[in-house]
């Protein structure tokens, strides 16, 4: 992929891409302070009137076939970084309004000891406009992520939220493959989706692309695209199918 270098070139390249591929709506959340809870509730309630939830299997089908099986168009609700308040404030609203959250997790933030999390955030481009937690825990825990993973998508946002293009090979490997290994260790399965800081697309940097492939990711999210770069391994498909079956047989608890 040749990266356009000017505004005009990017607009033309992107408008051609938009016109020739299925488009999907997404909404990106970061820190979701309790002070804004009523606003998030209104926003998600409004979305629920016009849009429906999207999980990774539904995205896969839409992306490959262009078919969308639900009566309302899909909306991907992305929740970035791995903030504790995304679990405590936003997740109940996401579930109340019938959406699936896509939690983009910085594994280094999750692994940082509680007393150091605020400092870690300040040094890793993790915005913290409000300091809501006197106990100092600002990141999700792996236990919370395992709970979220039962109904929602847990996805990879690298290990330390840094620009991959400027890193040496070993560090970059840790950011992509190392973070995937942590998902396998703590969740029991790999993450299927990947996005890195500032949202570069697959195809913009061959060295990073190789690592993304080696880590086993299927979807690369970027500022303007979702790229399917690999088919799911059969084990992952059967695992997802069994989860979907369990949820469906239980009266669609995603609603």
């Amino acid at each position: 992929m040749n990266r356009p270098s000017t505004f005009g070139e990017r607009v033309i390249e992107l408008s051609e891409s938009f016109a020739t591929h299925p488009l999907i709506r997404a909404v990106n959340f970061h820190s979701t302070s309790r002070a804004q809870v009523e606003r998030y509730d209104r926003q998600l309630e409004h979305y629920s009137r016009s849009f429906s939830a999207v999980n990774e299997d539904e995205l896969q089908e839409y992306l490959v076939t262009g078919n969308w099986r639900k009566s309302k168009p899909g909306l991907i609700v992305s929740v970035f970084e791995g903030y504790r308040n995304s679990y405590e404030v936003l997740t109940p609203l996401i579930e109340k309004h019938g959406f699936v959250g896509w939690y983009w997790v910085i594994t280094g933030f999750i692994n940082t000891p509680i007393p150091d999390q605020l400092t870690y955030a300040e040094h890793h481009d993790i915005d913290m406009l409000t300091h809501d937690y006197p106990d100092g825990r600002y990141a999700l825990t792996w236990d919370e992520l395992r709970q979220l993973g039962k109904k929602h998508v847990i996805a990879c946002h690298t290990r330390s939220h840094t620009l991959l293009s400027g890193l040496d090979v070993a560090t970059r490997r840790e950011e992509v493959i190392g973070s995937q290994e942590e998902f396998k260790k703590h969740l029991g399965h790999p993450a299927r989706s990947f996005v890195s800081l500032t949202g570069p697309a697959y195809g913009e940097d061959a060295n990073t692309d190789d690592l993304i492939h080696a880590a086993g990711f299927e979807f690369v999210f970027s500022n303007f695209r979702i790229q399917k770069i690999a088919s799911p391994p059969k084990a992952a498909v059967s695992q997802t199918a069994s989860i979907t079956s369990a949820l469906t047989s239980n009266g669609d608890p995603l609603r």
Partner: protein
């Protein structure tokens, strides 16, 4: 990359949008007539940019559009994935508003396109559509 003139097939676009209305795919904001005069596009763009400049990115849900690209399919020889009217309408709006953006900001950079996409998504299904002015 070869540049193509910025033009649209208005009849096809209009028919596609009417069809999309029936399918419930388009919001009212995007399902409008495509022959908006350039100065009107520019005026609306200036107003929306002013309004969106007040957003707190780290604390708001920011709407965007994403193109779904299957990089595996070509290797498998599958057919091209069909698109919806939403794809064509957003692409058309992106070009029209991109031209207006360059008139307002002749030195706009590649990175500014993200803001333009956010603006188009905001018009389609964002806070202004919820009536939330808080």
């Amino acid at each position: 990359m070869k540049k193509r003139p910025l033009m649209i097939n208005r009849r096809k676009t209009l028919l596609a949008m009417i069809g999309a209305w029936g399918a419930g795919l388009l919001s009212p904001a995007l399902a409008r007539l495509p022959d908006t005069p350039a100065d009107t596009v520019e005026k609306a763009l200036r107003e929306d940019l002013t309004r969106l400049g007040e957003r707190a990115y780290s604390e708001e849900g920011i709407p965007v559009f994403l193109a779904c690209v299957d990089l595996v399919a070509p290797k498998n020889g599958r057919a091209i994935v069909p698109t919806s009217a939403l794809s064509r309408t957003v692409a058309s709006d992106l070009r029209k508003n991109g031209e207006a953006w360059l008139r307002i900001y002749p030195k706009a950079s590649d990175g500014d396109v993200s803001k333009l996409i956010e603006l188009l998504a905001e018009r389609d299904f964002g806070r202004s559509r919820t009536g939330d002015k808080s």
